[in-house]
């Protein structure tokens, strides 16, 4: 039974990272109507930034805080520099833009830091502690706690006046503009929050698996599956969907004969397809929409 507990904990840790990325994707998607395919690449860039600070002798937590703050600022800059100019264009311009951003950022990672995987020691050790009758690694536990805290912060922002403005701008940009809300500025806030969440996800994933430019590439797929499963318009749904997919894939890989870790992307793709086709607005999406 202790084995099962460890697998659930590992699944929850993977699911927490999926959930962070899924919420980031949903925030951007609600604000700008676009899926940011570069979200995982930007998160990986943030993780490289944090690792560089640590390599220069910083302690982990200050480096982490600075990374998240810089990523927030970077999200604002991105929204201003790239997003505003193509806002009125066709969707394929958006998609191309984020794919271009993905390649550019990934290329930059490879260029500066090289393709090899480097270890990144986080604040949590891999030692196990006994919890609820099972052995759980401190790192998995720490990952879930940090990710949960980040999601709580975003939820608090969502309940604030700015969050209300975000939802209003997402629901009806025209009306929100008429009411005097800065729709463009609220969109930039969404991109910045998403970049900050991505930074948390990137650093957590790097401390668990080591850091290289392909760090979150397959995580993006399971995060997308989680986002569509939970509701592409609902951050809470995306958080739930992301963690469900993470736990589900881990248990599937452990207990279903013949699935194994190599089929993980295929399973994530299957979940994504099923979610998009059966319930395009997600389990928590608005009902009765075309």
């Amino acid at each position: 039974m202790s084995g099962a507990g460890a697998h659930v904990a590992a699944g929850l840790a993977a699911g927490a990272i999926d959930a962070l990325l899924a919420v980031a994707i949903v925030l951007v998607r609600r604000a700008s109507g676009v899926v940011n395919f570069a979200q995982a690449a930007l998160a990986t860039l943030s993780a490289f930034g944090c690792a560089t600070l640590v390599a220069h002798g910083w302690r982990f937590w200050p480096a982490f805080a600075v990374t998240v703050a810089l990523s927030f600022g970077g999200g604002l800059v991105l929204a201003g520099a790239l997003v505003a100019p193509v806002r009125r264009g066709p969707v394929y311009g958006w998609t191309l833009l984020t794919v271009g951003l993905l390649l550019a950022v990934n290329g930059l990672d490879n260029w500066i830091w090289g393709p090899r995987t480097r270890p990144f020691a986080g604040p949590f050790s891999a030692h196990t502690i006994r919890l609820a009758g099972g052995a759980v690694s401190r790192r998995d536990l720490g990952t879930v706690v940090v990710a949960g805290a980040a999601l709580v912060v975003v939820a608090v922002v969502g309940r604030s006046k700015a969050g209300l403005g975000l939802r209003a701008a997402a629901a009806d940009p025209g009306a929100a503009h008429e009411l005097g809300l800065g729709v463009g500025r609220l969109g930039a806030l969404a991109w910045a929050l998403a970049a900050a969440l991505g930074a948390v996800a990137g650093v957590l994933a790097a401390t668990a698996h080591g850091l290289d430019p392909t760090l979150l590439r397959s995580t993006l797929l399971s995060a997308l599956a989680g986002a569509f499963l939970g509701g592409i318009d609902s951050p809470a749904g995306a958080a739930l969907g992301g963690s469900t997919v993470g736990v589900g894939l881990e248990l599937l890989a452990t207990y279903v004969h013949g699935v194994g870790s190599s089929l993980r992307p295929v399973a994530a793709f299957a979940v994504l397809l099923a979610a998009i086709l059966l319930r395009p607005s997600g389990l928590r999406g608005r009902w009765g929409r075309p």
């Binding site: 998607r29 109507g33 676009v34 899926v35 395919f37 790239l82 100019p85 193509v86 009125r88 264009g89 066709p90 969707v91 394929y92 311009g93 958006w94 998609t95 191309l96 833009l97 794919v99 271009g100 951003l101 993905l102 390649l103 550019a104 950022v105 990934n106 290329g107 930059l108 990672d109 490879n110 260029w111 500066i112 090289g114 393709p115 430019p213 590439r217 397959s218 993006l220 797929l221 997308l224 599956a225 569509f228 190599s262 089929l263 993980r264 992307p265 295929v266 994530a268 793709f269 994504l272 397809l273 998009i276 086709l277 395009p280």
Partner: protein, 324 residues
């Protein structure tokens, strides 16, 4: 591009392609053969992007489908390589048509997400079904491999034929119907255009180009492995299509050249080591961002100048410009 200039460009390109193997070493000839396969794949992306406004992030998945069709038929069933090309195109076309039918009712962005997922999943599928695909080791084509020059000629002849086909298609009634569906779906559907059949047609055609490209690639390299069709391939091909004129079929050849030689082009960047993929990938990605931004700036300018022209015309007629 106007008819005469286009014809001239085409003639020059064909001439260069024809003399290249005489002037270049075997290694460079082989590289240019890969460019032919990339050109075909990019044509498929461009057709879809231009005619439907949907971006395919999964051309690599269709290439894998076509490539493995060729490898399985040639290595396990003894079919001659040449005859596996139409089979590869057919299988990928069927898969593309299914993707088109399935994603037709979704928002354009969901179609992008589905194709992205297919691109991530494709190499994993190839690894998993090792009995069919040879797993990590892959499949090796027949004992007598295609001579490099023959593979080169075959690939470029196929690419030329498919370019002309794409050009003819983009001027056909079907393509007009697709553009009408792209620009005003409701009006087009109201005037009786079938969305389902056209979505299947556009994605099927794009998939067929991908499948044939994958088949050519496998014939050129003499083998099919999962590593030949990574996610990166799908993304850089889309990037090439974007840089080569946001989906213009005339941009397919420059796009394929750029994708194949981006790493060499970027080799002189500061701190770039040879064999490193970073600078080239960065170059492609930055190129896409610039192309999209320039494209939307040009579109905005175009709107304004059209409006100005309309205003000028109205003034010339002695009327106040309508609208703004």
């Amino acid at each position: 591009m106007s008819g005469r200039l286009g014809l001239l460009t085409l003639a020059v390109a064909a001439g260069l392609v024809a003399v290249a193997p005489v002037l270049l070493s075997t290694r460079h000839t082989a590289q240019l053969a890969v460019v032919a396969a990339y050109t075909v794949a990019t044509l498929g992306i461009s057709l879809l992007l231009r005619q439907t406004g949907r971006s395919s992030l999964g051309q690599g998945a269709f290439m894998a489908l076509g490539g493995y069709t060729t490898a399985i038929l040639a290595s396990s069933h003894g079919v001659r390589e040449l005859w596996t090309i139409p089979a590869a195109g057919g299988v990928a076309a069927a898969a593309g048509a299914i993707v088109g039918l399935v994603t037709m009712r979704l928002e354009p962005i969901s179609a992008g997400v589905v194709t992205f997922g297919a691109a991530v999943a494709a190499p994993a599928v190839a690894l998993r079904f090792a009995g069919l695909t040879g797993g990590q080791r892959g499949l090796v084509l027949a004992a007598r491999p295609f001579e490099a020059r023959h593979a080169y000629a075959l690939a470029w002849v196929v690419a030329g034929v498919l370019f002309v086909a794409a050009w003819a298609f983009s001027r056909s009634r079907s393509a007009r119907a697709l553009r009408a569906l792209r620009d005003s779906p409701r009006d087009a559907a109201a005037s009786g255009l079938g969305r389902a059949s056209h979505a299947a047609l556009a994605f099927g055609l794009s998939g067929a180009y991908g499948g044939i490209a994958g088949s050519l690639l496998v014939i050129e390299l003499g083998r099919a492995e999962p590593g030949q069709f990574p996610l990166r391939l799908s993304l850089v091909l889309l990037a090439g299509a974007a840089v080569g004129g946001l989906g213009s079929i005339w941009g397919a050849l420059p796009a394929a050249l750029l994708v194949r030689y981006a790493d060499q082009l970027a080799g002189s960047f500061p701190h770039a080591r040879s064999g490193q993929v970073g600078p080239g990938t960065f170059l492609l990605g930055a190129g896409v961002v610039v192309a999209v931004l320039a494209g939307s700036a040009a579109a905005a300018l175009g709107r304004r100048s059209r409006r100005q022209r309309a205003g000028d015309r109205a003034e010339a007629l002695g009327q106040a410009p309508s609208g703004e």
